[in-house]
Each structure stands twice: as C-alpha cells, then as structure tokens.
C-alpha cells in the first residue's frame, strides 16, 4: 500500500494534488526522459543605465562526457519575451565567455533574459540531463564585473538538435499563496533593485510592498524597492529575483 501511495504521489496527477493541497509540494519538474536534455536557466542581461553583461560557461559535454565537436546556442529575449538574437558558438573551450553590450544589441539599452543550450550531433545516451547554471557578471559604467550564478531552471531542449524548446520546469500554484522571504537585510544601501523573470509559459501574479505585478510568459521586470525586509507573494513555487544593491559608486549583484 505504501509503495502504491508513493508511486501515485510522483505521477502527474499526484504532483498536481500535492501542489493544490500544499502537502509536500513539488517545486521543480522531475524528468523521466528517453532523450538527452540540455537545461538552461533564465539568465538576466542588462544594457540599461551603463550596464553590460558578461556570461561565462563551461563546455559540459566535453568536460564530463569527453564529447568533441559540441556547440552552444544562446537565445536572447527582450523583457517582453521577443527574440532579439540567436547566437551559435562553435569551437568551445573548457571555459568560455560571451558579452552582451548595447553595441552588440545594435543600440538597445534595456534588459531581458537569455538561455543557453548545449548541442552535439554525436549519439548520446537518453538518460543524460545536463544543466548549465553558468556565471554572470554585471559591469556598470565599465567598472569591475560583479559575478553571480544562474537563478532558476527555465527551459530545456534535446541535446541532439530538434529545434523544439520547452519550459514549465518551475511549478505553479492555483492561488497566490507562495511566499519568498529574501534572507538579506536591505539596510544602508542607496538603492536596491530586484530583477524578476518568468521561467514558465504561464502568467505569474506577484506582489511586493503591497503592489501587484503581472509577469507574462518569459517576461522580466526590474523593480526598485525601499523595504528592509522583502517578502514576495506569488502563484509560482520558485520566484527568486536577482538582487542589485547600490552604494556610492559600488554595486553588488547576487541571487536571492
């Protein structure tokens, strides 16, 4: 009987029931895959207000699986989820860099998210799932990059390219009953900004400091905050903003 309950609890219907009743909810998608998968975070990029964004990533397929002739694709989206650029990068090293500037985006001074996918044409066992959490550096006014790593698993695709990209790794709640209390004291800063992105295909409703926000599929928003204790309420099980804290001419960027 116990094993039957355990089996049901991990089926699609079981997870649905766990999440609406809030009994042992499942925050992230679990895979039972027959194809090799490359998962990407929704990585935040900024070119607004003197920012540029540096992205550092490893060739995971070469490092762990010794597969040669791999490549990555970087898909850059606007804050309104419009595809701005697709970059295919061959000749990977163990560790690689990619920089998004205003000039690279042909004059766009704004923000959004991008995704990275690893590919190979070599036959690759279906059980394998890789995830590049990577590292992002933000430089303001050409000062030193402040580095942070990826924040939320967002989209995935087949490592043997099929031109199909899926999302909804992060689960949603029926109600706006999920709270996320950021474990940082926002005191003694000139300014704090929170960068939210929607890693799902659904609409996220969230509130912060008694204001309500709507974030549609793949969209992102930067919100300036003045509270010392920050609590985010939402209908998403894993809505974690990236934090930008400012003091004098210095910035500190970290995930929350």
């Amino acid at each position: 009987m116990k094993s039957l309950i355990k089996y049901f609890a991990n089926t699609k219907s079981g997870i649905f029931l766990r999440n609406i009743t809030n009994i042992k909810p499942v925050y992230l998608k679990t895979f039972d895959t027959k194809v090799p998968i490359s998962i990407s975070d929704a990585f935040a990029w900024r070119t607004d207000n003197g920012f540029k964004t540096k992205f550092k990533y490893s060739d995971i397929l070469e490092l762990f699986y010794n597969i040669k002739n791999t490549w990555v694709e970087i898909h850059i989206f606007s804050k309104n989820n419009i595809l701005l650029k697709k970059e295919k990068i061959l000749d990977l090293k163990s560790s690689n860099e990619f920089t998004i500037t205003k000039d690279y985006l042909e004059g766009i001074e704004d923000y959004g998210v991008f995704y990275i996918y690893h590919f190979s044409k070599e036959k690759f066992s279906g059980e394998n799932i890789i995830s590049n959490r990577c590292y992002l550096g933000y430089s303001k006014d050409n000062n030193l990059y402040s580095f942070v790593y990826g924040n939320t698993l967002a989209k995935y695709t087949n490592i043997n390219p099929k031109n199909s990209y899926k999302s909804d790794m992060v689960k949603m709640s029926f109600f706006k009953d999920q709270i996320y209390h950021i474990q940082k004291y926002f005191e003694n800063f000139d300014k704090n900004e929170l960068f939210f992105s929607n890693p799902t295909s659904k609409t996220i409703n969230f509130s912060l400091e008694n204001k309500n926000y709507i974030l549609k599929e793949g969209c992102s928003v930067i919100i300036e905050t003045s509270e010392k204790n920050i609590i985010v309420k939402s209908n998403c099980y894993f809505l974690r903003p990236t934090v930008f804290s400012y003091k004098n001419n210095y910035i500190d960027v970290h995930h929350s």
Partner: protein, 253 residues
C-alpha cells in the same frame, strides 16, 4: 542543518546577516544564534545576543569577522545535545527548499562590497573528499588581484594542514601547490598566469566551499562556484563527477 561563517584578513572583512526566518515563513523569535570555536581540541559555544531587536537578522559585523569561528541557529532544547568532541546535526530549522542562507558580504574598508547567499551544509562537515573547481569561471584577468577563498568546516575540532593545488587539466600538470587548514577560512592569491580555462583548483582530503574574489579600483566581485554534480541532473551525476575527479586526482597524486 546549515552552518555559517565569515572572513577576516588584511584585505577583506566580512559582514554576515543570519535570518531568524525560513524563506517561506515568518520570523521565529525563539531562535538563538550560537558562535562556535575550537579551544584546547574541544568545540566550545557561546550565545550571541541580537543587537537590533527590530531586525529579523543576527548580524556579525566587520569588527567581529573571523576566519575560525562558525555559527548556527538553535532553540534552547537542541543546544543541550551539543557535543564538544564533534559537530552534530542538532536541529532541522535550516533544512529548507530553497536552501536556508545567510548573506555573506565582504568589504574593503572605505571601498566596495560584494556578497552572496551563503551556507555550509552539515552533510559536507562529516565527509572527507576533494573539491574540483574551475578557476576561470569566476576570476577576471582585467582585475588588479584575484583570490581563492576556501572554507573548510570539519566535524572534529582540529586545525590540520592539507594540500590545495592549481592544476592544468588539459596538460595534466600541477601549476601550484599550497597549504590549507581545516576549520578555517583560507585565502590564496591567484597568479595572473593561472587565469586560463584549463586551470582548476583541487583540494586534497578535505571538502570545502571554493569562493573567488576579484578586485579593481576598490570594486569587488565575490561568488562561489557550483559543486560539479549540479551540472548534471540525471541519475548518473555522481558517477560522472567521480570519473572527472579520478582524472584530476591522478594529476595531484
């Protein structure tokens, strides 16, 4: 159960903000913060008072930052189980999803600051092993200086020396060997010649958290690298990481 830690040396001081709330719930006013340290080969603890009763954080400021003290949260009941001979998993207050974290900020006096959400999980404290971490991922060749900060917490109250290495994994060569200490926040300056994609930091015998700091014109960047098994989410993740570690260990042995 998570432990928390700080950094204190000639260049950097730390400020650690440890919340009294889980990230999905309200503050627990009954929770207390304990500082622990090694004294005559025994673990000792003291209770740290919260200075600002309005705040939901215990704050270990830069004047009290330390390389050898560590911190944990506990209620009165579980502190009675404290063992002077080895660190124990005393309570589950910090066992949360996402992980329960402090904000660990490092500062240059009259200069910049940088932080990340930091914790040292109990399961790393009981185990021995080696850490492999890419140096290129978080260092910056344009910076004035780059440093590795390596924090080890081990359950026995010992300050034992062990080896750390910068290795070139492509050419299978040790580039630098240096000494690290258990139950301590170690700091190593990284030579600019080592800032390339083939260089990895490797610890021998002991686990820990590898963090990297870059500085330029008083600006700082500070972040830790992911454990290798976070790159692979399939069931074979530990097997794949083990294979890579075996290759690296062949270089240092």
């Amino acid at each position: 159960m998570n432990y928390f830690f700080g950094i204190n040396n000639e260049i950097f001081k730390s400020r650690v903000e440890i919340p009294i709330f889980k990230n999905r719930s309200i503050p627990d006013k009954q929770i207390k913060l304990y500082e622990i340290y090694i004294d005559e080969k025994k673990w000792k603890y003291t209770n740290i008072e919260k200075k600002n009763s309005e705040s939901n954080f215990f704050i270990i400021d830069e004047k009290n930052s330390s390389n050898d003290k560590i911190y944990f949260l506990s209620k009165d009941k579980s502190i009675n189980k404290f063992n002077n001979d080895q660190l124990e998993n005393l309570n589950d207050f910090t066992d949360t999803v996402p992980a329960f974290r402090s904000n660990l900020k490092i500062l240059i006096i009259n200069g910049g600051f940088s932080s990340y959400q930091s914790e040292y999980p109990f399961q790393m404290i009981k185990s021995k092993g080696s850490i492999v971490s890419s140096v290129a991922s978080l260092t910056n060749s344009s910076a004035d200086k780059n440093y590795l900060i390596f924090k080890n917490i081990f359950h026995f109250p010992i300050n034992e020396k062990f080896n750390g290495f910068f290795v070139d994994i492509k050419n299978k060569k040790i580039m630098e060997k240096f000494e690290l200490i258990t139950n301590y926040t170690n700091q190593i300056e990284i030579n600019k010649k080592l800032l390339n994609e083939n260089i990895f930091f490797v610890s021998q015998d002991y686990l820990g958290i590898p963090m990297y700091v870059s500085t330029k014109d008083n600006h700082i960047s500070f972040e830790h690298t992911h454990p290798l098994h976070e790159y692979i989410l399939s069931k074979n993740r530990y097997e794949k990481v083990k294979q890579l570690k075996e290759q690296v260990n062949e270089i240092i042995n």
